[in-house]
């Protein structure tokens, strides 16, 4: 038995863990009856990969095929996005979609159907999967794609690991000329300004805004809007970049070596950080060339940053509300969060493009993600926010969640009931795929 948790260190449980590096080994693990769930790199925030018995997928991480002309890659699902970047960026290829951390597995990216700063242009990670193999609870392997075994494919993408263990996947990498991003940063004085920025014509491939959730009144929603494109070789100016355009420098690597005490994150420290961060960015528009790690993964350079929240852990509240409800809805929700004074360093706003998936999180609209240390007051606030999000027709991101109840899930995910039935059918006989998350939101019994 080992103590395990996901990234938020809440909850922490005792679990029986075992890994595998061959299909036969995994099959023998599934032969033991009971409930289990796949555990990749533990970067979902709450309890999506927690269960009294978990199967560690990280060792199942081999690259199986790569086509140098099309960029089509087939790999085992335990490989980290970070490993793929290390191998393929120097050869001129990048991920089709990446979330704000590269320290997740390909299997996790599919199960949570993760999104990135290019969602409005390129959709979610799952929409790039051309084919995948999944081991069912009886040990059989099903190959599925949008065309083949499509129903199973659609329940598995975004299905939070409840349909089986994803073994391998095929998807295409995108061509890049350089490992750099041409980035433009715009300071927005309030929520209206940043939303104008998101909705302005002239499409950028990547866009996201950091938002100060403690600012109130006229400054409510003051933000820094960051947009980017993969830089072409001609756009590089620095001689060292030009010399090796596909090999960005290592950059600084920090680490939080131990759990910080609870007082490290008070309203005052967060307010000071946010004011400094906002102030650092001059008004108007700034342009620069940034390495891809700097642009996509600023937090990955701080190892174990989750420890700044201390032993009690933290959660990320990430919701989306439809674009039509966006301005009014986001304004009211932000007002409520600002009034609570519970906001955090990391609040991120983004406009999603259209997406109609069976059970995935994204939909066309505004998504906001904020970190909160676990506290009674925060839990009370979330209940209020849940009601507002649901009233606006929005929903919460399962990969970040650790506390929503079954009623909220049923109310906000239009296919919640069909999903529950599909998982029940797939789980018949033998081992059952179930997590603390699936039980909490009523998908498994």
């Amino acid at each position: 038995m080992r103590r395990i948790s996901d990234w938020g260190n809440y909850p922490v449980i005792e679990a029986e863990t075992s890994g595998f590096d061959s299909v036969e080994q995994l099959r023998s693990r599934l032969a033991e009856p009971g409930e289990l769930i796949a555990y990749g790199n533990g970067r979902s925030y709450g309890d999506a990969s927690l269960q009294s018995r978990v199967v560690l997928t990280r060792r199942f991480d081999k690259l199986l095929a790569f086509d140098e002309t099309t960029g089509e890659l087939t790999c085992q699902a335990g490989v980290l996005l970070a490993d793929l970047l290390d191998v393929f960026v120097p050869r001129g290829w990048f991920l089709p979609v990446t979330p704000g951390t590269k320290l997740i597995t390909v299997g996790g990216a599919i199960a949570a159907d993760v999104h990135g700063k290019n969602h409005h242009v390129d959709g979610s990670f799952g929409q790039h999967i051309r084919s995948m193999d999944v081991m069912r609870n009886d040990g059989s392997i099903i190959t599925c794609s949008p065309a083949r075994n499509a129903e199973f494919f659609n329940v598995t993408v975004g299905g939070m690991g409840l349909t089986g263990i994803i073994l391998q996947a095929t998807f295409r990498l995108r061509r890049i000329e350089t490992a750099y991003i041409r980035e433009e940063t715009v300071r927005a004085a309030n929520l209206g300004e940043v939303m104008d920025g998101f909705e302005a014509p002239g499409e950028w491939t990547y866009s996201v805004a950091w938002i100060d959730c403690l600012a109130r009144g006229d400054a409510l929603g003051r933000s820094i809007l960051m947009r980017g494109e993969h830089a072409t070789a001609g756009e590089l100016v620095n001689p060292s970049h030009k010399h090796a355009p596909l090999k960005p420098g290592g950059g600084m690597k920090l680490d939080v070596p131990f759990m910080m005490p609870g007082f490290a994150l008070s309203r005052l420290t967060v307010q000071a950080f946010n004011a400094a961060y906002y102030g650092k960015c001059r008004s108007g528009t700034q342009a620069r060339i940034a390495g891809y790690n700097q642009f996509f993964y600023p937090l990955d350079s701080v190892g174990n940053w989750n420890r700044i929240y201390g032993r009690r852990g933290f959660t990320q509240y990430q919701f989306v509300i439809p674009k039509a409800a966006g301005r009014e809805g986001m304004h009211r929700i932000l007002e409520r969060i600002a009034a609570s004074g519970l906001g955090s360093f990391l609040a991120v706003l983004k406009l999603f493009g259209e997406q109609e998936s069976f059970i995935s999180f994204p939909m066309e609209g505004y998504t906001l993600a904020l970190d909160f240390p676990i506290s009674f007051k925060a839990m009370e606030l979330f209940k209020e926010l849940d009601a507002m999000v649901a009233d606006y027709g929005g929903r919460l991101y399962l990969a970040k969640d650790s506390r929503m109840d079954a009623a909220m899930f049923a109310r906000t995910y239009p296919n919640a009931d069909e999903f529950r039935q599909a998982v029940a059918v797939l789980n018949e006989g033998g081992t059952r795929f179930a997590s603390l998350l699936s039980r909490r939101i009523g998908v498994t019994g």
């Binding site: 590096d21 061959s22 036969e24 060792r59 991480d61 199986l64 095929a65 191998v87």
Partner: protein, 243 residues
Amino acid sequence: MKNVLILGATSDMAQAIARRFAAEGWGLVLAARSTGRLEPVASDLAIRSKVPVRALAFDAGCFDTHQAFYDAIDPKPDAVVCAFGYMGDPMAARTDFAEARLTIDVNYTGAVSILNIVAADFEARGQGDIVGISSVAGDRGRQSNYLYGSAKAGFTAYLSGLRNRLAEKGVHVMTVKPGFCRTKMTEQLDLPAALTAEPGQVADAVFRGLEARRNVVYTLWMWRWIMLVVRHIPECLFKRMGL
């Protein structure tokens, strides 16, 4: 381009060693009992490193296949890493001779069988590196795993003799004794972090040792001293210790 033959290539340690050689531009010939498990390993290394990778079936326990196995390799390797091993069930091996024999056959007899063939080729060519992954368990027999330990002790002595014989012929023989290493073989054990090497550290030690033509390599320096002490505990005390 130089080529390395890695025997027992599906183990975590062997995979790390393969990655290290590939990173240095060596072509890889990988051999393991289960080709089903070896193929993903081989494709992974080929995609990551772009060096040529060949995957071959090899069973350390099937001695009579070894000559044909080695004859079929073309071009012949410049270095051979003998990385297969079998920990087995030490409790069962005390009473079950089949288990004891399997432990000896894989760790000792199988290694002798294939390395005799390799040594003859290298001696004739007057060049080559032979790397044997032995174990600190072979430095002194302990009740917890003395069958494995005795087979590794035999392997260590074999490598020592081989080194002695081939030293004048331009062939380098290196004995590697990893202490604790974090692999799937030790996944369930609670190992002391300071004494436990990652597979990548073993791979670094192997490659650097090869370049420096070292004789005996302990992958973490402490182990050389720990085992020096362990070897010198008087037997009258040692036999009463719960090791």
